[in-house]
């Protein structure tokens, strides 16, 4: 079987595929005009969801601002004045890992997601940014992450199919056909 021809009609033509194309082509879509009534309009976007999204974003911003202010205050706090009788070990230090930049969350160090997706290169976030920029970055990160995960879902299913097939092949070769066959909704797409 010539896979190139089946894939994109390049390479040496596959006679069987050509014959099937010739016969099945009689069922091909014949262009028809689209009948779109004049009174039909795209439905307006649901405002409640947008309002909720805005409210959630504002809440997140307030939270982030609170954390940032607290961190900033810790950085600029005056040095402790040594007093007689004060135990120096009273100073409490909490160590937290350096927060990852948005682009690191997508293809950060150690994340070898080889799906051919690379995040657009971004300069490090400046300390003082206006609210609009923060909103834009968060939206981009979320949308891009979502897009990446959607694409990865397909890849993941493919990988699991291959893994399952090979495991079952090994099982069949050793013990024969599997006793249980949990085929469920075989004609239902995920």
């Amino acid at each position: 079987m010539n896979n190139d021809y089946l894939w994109d009609r390049t390479g040496e033509p596959d006679v069987e595929v050509q014959q099937l194309e010739d016969v099945l082509g009689t069922l091909r879509y014949q262009p028809q005009p689209l009948e779109l009534p004049a009174e039909v309009q795209p439905a307006a976007r649901r405002r409640s969801f947008s309002a909720l999204a805005v409210a959630a974003t504002i809440a997140l911003l307030v939270l982030a601002a609170g954390v940032w202010i607290r961190f900033y205050r810790q950085q600029v706090s005056p040095p402790a004045i040594a007093k007689e009788g004060v135990n120096s070990n009273q100073a409490s230090v909490t160590s937290t890992p350096t927060p990852m930049r948005p682009d690191e969350l997508i293809t950060g160090p150690g994340n070898q997601a080889r799906l051919g997706i690379t995040a657009p290169k971004r300069s490090p976030a400046p300390r003082h940014t206006n609210r609009k920029n923060i909103l834009t970055r968060r939206d981009e990160m979320t949308a891009t992450q979502r897009a990446e995960a959607e694409a990865a879902k397909d890849q993941l299913l493919l990988a699991l199919r291959v893994a399952s097939a090979k495991l079952n092949l090994a099982q069949r070769k050793t013990v024969g056909a599997p006793t249980s066959n949990n085929i469920r909704n075989q004609h239902k797409l995920g």
Binding site: N3, D4, P79, A80, A82, S88, A91, V93, S95, P97, T98, L105, G108, G110, N111, Q112, A113, R114, L115, Q145, E148, A149, E150, A152, K153, Q155, L156, L157, L158, A159, L160, R161, V162, A163, S164, A165, K166, L167, N168, L169, A170, Q171, R172, K173, T174, A177, P178, S180, N181, N182, I183, R184, N185, Q186, H187, K188, L189, G190
Partner: protein
């Protein structure tokens, strides 16, 4: 002086945490096979499957599986906790497109105490299938399936706690048939 001490303690804590993460990562990494030496086979293969999904991407992707759909719920349960899924599969038009060295480059990584071969099926005509497990205590922490066929070479490497039963039951779902040839379909006579 106090500020300097605070900074030093903070730095030490961060370093310790990073070292710990690296150690954990290194342990997980050892379940990961190096298969990039086989990438050149893609140019010769009539069909290539090359999937590399790390833990972060698995977690992101898991959110897109429905908890109400029974098939997707099973998938979600299966991938829960996995650290990585890596598949390389090459199908060739002719035999002899890959060498024994290619296969050995994978097998040699599995000839360590960390890996246990739990299944090995050999057939001169149909090739071989080997299944390896890495365990951490009583839990599986890694799986490798190496399928070697005259016209196909497949390496499946899954990191983390794999449920083998759930994984093998996946075949047949989502419209994927079993590998066996389906029995002939008896068609009704046309009027």
């Amino acid at each position: 002086m106090k500020t300097l001490f605070q900074s030093l303690v903070r730095l030490a804590s961060i370093s310790l945490l990073l070292m710990l993460c690296t150690a954990i990562g290194a342990k997980a990494q050892s379940a990961r096979l190096q298969t990039n030496t086989l990438d050149y086979l893609a140019a010769k293969a009539s069909q290539t499957v090359d999937v590399n999904i790390d833990e972060h991407l698995i977690q992101m992707t898991a959110r897109f599986f429905s908890s109400t759909n029974p098939d997707e719920k099973e998938i979600k349960q299966l991938i829960n906790g996995l650290k990585g899924i890596y598949v390389k599969s090459f199908e060739f038009e002719h035999e002899g497109e890959y060498s024994a060295t290619d296969v050995e480059s994978i097998r040699s990584q599995l000839h360590t105490p960390a890996w246990t071969k739990i299944l090995n099926v050999n057939s001169k005509k149909e090739g071989s299938v080997e299944v390896y497990l890495m365990t951490a205590g009583e839990r599986i922490s890694g799986l490798v399936v190496l399928a070697v066929d005259p016209k196909e070479l497949t390496i499946v490497n899954i990191l983390g706690p794999v449920d083998l039963n759930k994984l093998s039951q996946l075949e047949g779902q989502f419209g994927v048939p079993e590998l066996d040839i389906e029995p002939p379909v008896k068609t009704k006579p046309k009027n």
